[in-house]
Assembly symmetry: C2
Homo-oligomer: 346 residues x 2
């Protein structure tokens, strides 16, 4: 049923190549992993044979001896959230470009699951990217001692991180609202456990003070579209005419609820989201939001991690220091969901 040559069912190993080319297995190993340390001619012969025999290196065996898996784990807190899709897209892209494997783990918003994953993953991957960790800075730092880590949207001391500069976006958003005549802004908060949530709120308070804008806050709200309904009701009850929501999911949910209640956006209420996820441009009305380079954050995180693992030339690694932070700029994308303040406060 198969061709006349050797057994088809067994995978080709470096031994097979060694036999075929008349060299020692170690030479084959070198020819494949450190080509410069082998006579050019034999190197060619070996690689040729490898190709002909259909050799595929056994990554398990390789990992066992070298201690390196050429895989990295990417932990997300909720695989359901479109924000992470973009992150994953970025990490995936950068990893496959480097020939590495991505292990995707959903921690489901649970710190225990995160700890479990991080411990389990230690042997399976050479490093990990934490997006939206639910752990304390100290815990993260502790794990980082054993496993190279890069965190997104967190700033644990000593651990390299990628920050999306939403505070900068908040400033633009408030200025935009001010330019439309708004003097009151309501912050629709996300989960208390979110680092970004506090960061955005503080940025809002700071900017508002400077621009003479009054701010208030409602929440916390879970980061789902469905949470938007309650948020919208609360915003209306608070008499708000301009809201900045923790993220686009909540903002989109608010839009839907406001429409149901006959409250016009932006005529009666302006809504600003955060992140510019898939859907923010085609919801109704289209959402003004802080566009974050989410995919880029994923790519940068991987580049930093690969840099730390010496798997990337130094000049391709972002950030000056190994434990430094890289901040990616955000910009406001104005769409239909924001408009002039109503003539008189309601």
């Amino acid at each position: 049923m198969s061709s006349a040559d050797t057994d088809t069912s067994r995978r080709v190993t470096i031994r097979d190549i060694a036999d075929a080319t008349g060299v020692a297995p170690s030479t084959v190993s070198r020819a494949l992993s450190l080509p410069d340390r082998v006579n050019h001619a034999t190197q060619q012969r070996i690689q040729q044979a490898a190709r002909e025999l259909g050799y595929v290196p056994n990554s398990q065996a390789r990992a066992l001896t070298s201690g390196r898996t050429r895989a990295v784990a990417v932990l997300v807190s909720d695989i359901t959230n479109p924000f992470y899709f973009d992150v994953i897209r970025g990490t995936q892209h950068q990893l496959s470009a480097a020939g590495w494997t991505q292990l995707l783990v959903d921690t489901e918003e649970s710190a225990e699951a995160e700890v479990a994953a991080l411990s389990a993953v230690a042997g399976k991957a050479d490093g990990a990217v934490l997006t939206a960790s639910r752990l304390s800075d100290a815990q993260i730092a502790r794990f980082a001692e054993r496993t190279p880590l890069v965190v997104v949207n967190r700033r644990p001391p000593g651990v390299p991180s990628v920050l999306i500069d939403t505070p900068g976006g908040v400033e633009q958003a408030v200025q935009h609202l001010v330019s439309l005549g708004h003097r009151d802004v309501l912050y629709v908060a996300g989960p208390d456990s979110s680092w970004s949530n506090e960061r955005r709120w503080r940025a809002l308070v700071r900017v508002a003070k400077r621009l003479g804008v009054r701010v208030a806050r409602i929440g916390p709200h879970a980061p789902f579209v469905d949470s938007g309904a309650a948020a919208a009701d609360a915003a209306v009850h608070a008499g708000a005419t301009a809201c900045i929501a923790f993220n686009d999911l909540i903002a989109i949910g608010m839009l839907t609820r406001l429409r149901e209640r006959g409250i016009r956006v932006p005529e009666d209420m302006s809504v600003v989201g955060c992140d510019d996820i898939f859907g923010a441009d085609f919801c109704n009305p289209p959402l003004t939001t802080m566009t974050s380079p989410i995919e880029r954050a994923g790519r940068v995180a991987i580049r930093m991690l690969l840099g730390r693992l010496d798997a990337l030339p130094a000049d391709e690694v972002p950030g000056e220091h190994a434990s430094g932070a890289v901040a990616l700029p955000t910009h406001l994308t104005v769409r239909g969901s924001t408009g002039p303040a109503p003539a008189r406060p309601r």
Copy 2:
């Protein structure tokens, strides 16, 4: 800096446990992997020690001897497409429930990348799920001989598959349009390389014939929101009053374009999508679409695969035969994008 006991920097191995408990490494191995084949008392002692020492099995070493990685690869053709998010969510869920690892691979719509990934993955995973493969049935079957495979929305002979019954959904969609007075339906085709695309078109032709509806087809269109603009223009040019789009991405893009052009949906044109992805409910107007159990498809695919790998009790494995197909029902979700046919054909 660390506690007084042994070296902190090295990972705990079964040898350490063996030393600590005074048994042989092989006994530790058994106690951990095949607990029934060990004296209950010593088994307890060993597991206790393992816990105390913080033992984490080295999956590489385990894989090397056992030949099993307890990981599965999930290949998607475009990680950008929200359809796959739901699939990934399903696979991730089912895998982590079983304590397995998910390797996520984006083949970027390329058959070569898929082949490369499939070969590379062979050693890293015990099996793979192909969602939207770009390979031929024969190629898939060939890979399936070496690596346990489950395919989604394909039907290569001999390879277990999970099918989302969009033909059934097409029937409901056409009946819905007929009930609104439409007698002409335009199919807005997806990519030629898509198996589902042909399947949906054929189902449409069949149903239309039975119900006395005229059908036409435009396309192919790439499965992106951005493709929807050209599709909408073509549909308008064709004088269509009711369209069924290959998927929601195209349908949402059409909605946007029609609105730009001042063509009212559903008054001037009814649009039906397919899949019910994230966003279909909050686009403008909300999209009537065939709701597919996408996440469930992912879960079912993993269960079938784990079943084939003997990693799941037989009674939890869907489908009668190892190489059978499981079809998941679809249903039509009617929202604002469909309405009565215009009084007279335009």
